[in-house]
């Protein structure tokens, strides 16, 4: 089989100001993942490494650069899955962790569970030396501006997803 590593940086109405940085970020992540594969890493190593590269890039809505909840917190979700064993690990609403995918992998490999959420996920991460960081380290000026803009125009929380370029971009899963 010809190996391939593919990544994405989120499907939404990416504003022009983020086009170049987004493309540069996905190129870097794909190359990084492929290098891990060439160096003998497993497919799980590759998936984790590529996603960490994207989480660490403030351009993307994950890890550093995550968007904010209505009460200005950072809550993140992540999953990792191994196709050979169909084992999976996931975290939901984990707070203030730079790389949620690392915690997802630990859940997959160290517990009989598939998902840990909220406080339990943070507590589990801490047991493996992955501690919460100051949320300001994860919040970008862009995320703050986007929340402020949102609050200026509405106080209704719902999924605003629109196919047009004129859609109000409110992030994406």
């Amino acid at each position: 089989v010809e190996p391939v590593v593919i990544v994405h940086g989120g499907a939404w109405a990416v504003p022009e100001i983020l086009w170049d940085k987004s493309v540069a970020g996905v190129k870097t992540a794909a190359l990084h993942g492929y290098q891990v594969l060439k160096d003998g890493g497993s497919v799980v190593d590759v998936a984790e490494a590529a996603v960490i590269s994207l989480e660490d890039n403030p351009v993307f809505d994950a890890g550093t650069g995550s968007v904010l909840t209505f009460d200005e917190q950072v809550e993140m979700d992540a999953i990792i899955m191994n196709g050979a064993t169909m084992q999976a690990g996931a975290v939901a609403a984990i707070r203030n962790i730079p790389n949620p995918v690392k915690v997802a992998r630990l859940i997959m490999e160290k517990t009989p569970h598939v998902m840990l959420a909220g406080e339990g996920a943070n507590k589990f991460a801490s047991e493996y030396g992955i501690n919460e960081v100051d949320k300001d380290l994860l919040i970008t000026p862009y995320a703050k501006e986007e929340l402020a803009e949102y609050k200026k125009y509405t106080n209704t929380v719902y999924c605003l997803f629109n196919k047009t370029d004129h859609a109000n971009p409110v992030g994406h899963d």
């Binding site: 990544v7 989120g10 109405a13 990416v14 594969l37 209505f70 992540a78 899955m81 196919k163 994406h172």
Partner: protein
């Protein structure tokens, strides 16, 4: 949201997806990203998928599993993703995108939103794009 799908020389597959969610989300709200079959799915007998877009719609559509299931019928990766996205749009009015690899080394990406940055490496070439229809190839 960000994600990765990978297949190696032996046909082993994996996927990962990670997200900060949507701006101004209700505290405690969880989208598709950590849900198996919605935000991601990997099975060496088929391939691996990572999705992105409106989390509520993706969950209702079980988008990653839907795409994998279409791949399982023998459809190519791109057709499978298109089929999944079309289903999500027509039944739930939801939009998004996905990347996928088959365990045979086929690769594809599609999106029904205005843009989605993506990139992949295969056979010494780096492929990437962000706009609909854009597909740039660089030699490594």
């Amino acid at each position: 949201t960000v994600g990765c799908a990978v297949v190696d020389q032996k046909g082993h597959t994996a996927c990962a997806t990670s997200t900060g969610g949507i701006t101004a989300k209700m505290p405690g709200r969880v989208g598709d990203s950590p849900i198996i079959g919605a935000g991601g799915y990997a099975d060496d007998e088929v391939g691996a998928v990572s999705t992105t877009g409106c989390g509520e719609a993706i969950m209702k559509a079980c988008l990653a599993r839907h795409i994998a299931l279409v791949m399982e019928t023998g459809q190519d990766v791109v057709t499978a993703i298109k089929t999944g996205l079309n289903h999500m749009e027509s039944r739930i009015n939801g939009f998004g995108g996905a990347i996928a690899v088959s365990s045979k080394g086929d690769v594809g990406m599609q999106f029904s939103t205005p843009r989605m940055p993506w990139a992949y490496v295969q056979q010494g070439k780096l492929h990437y794009g962000i706009h609909p229809g854009q597909h740039i190839i660089e030699d490594l």
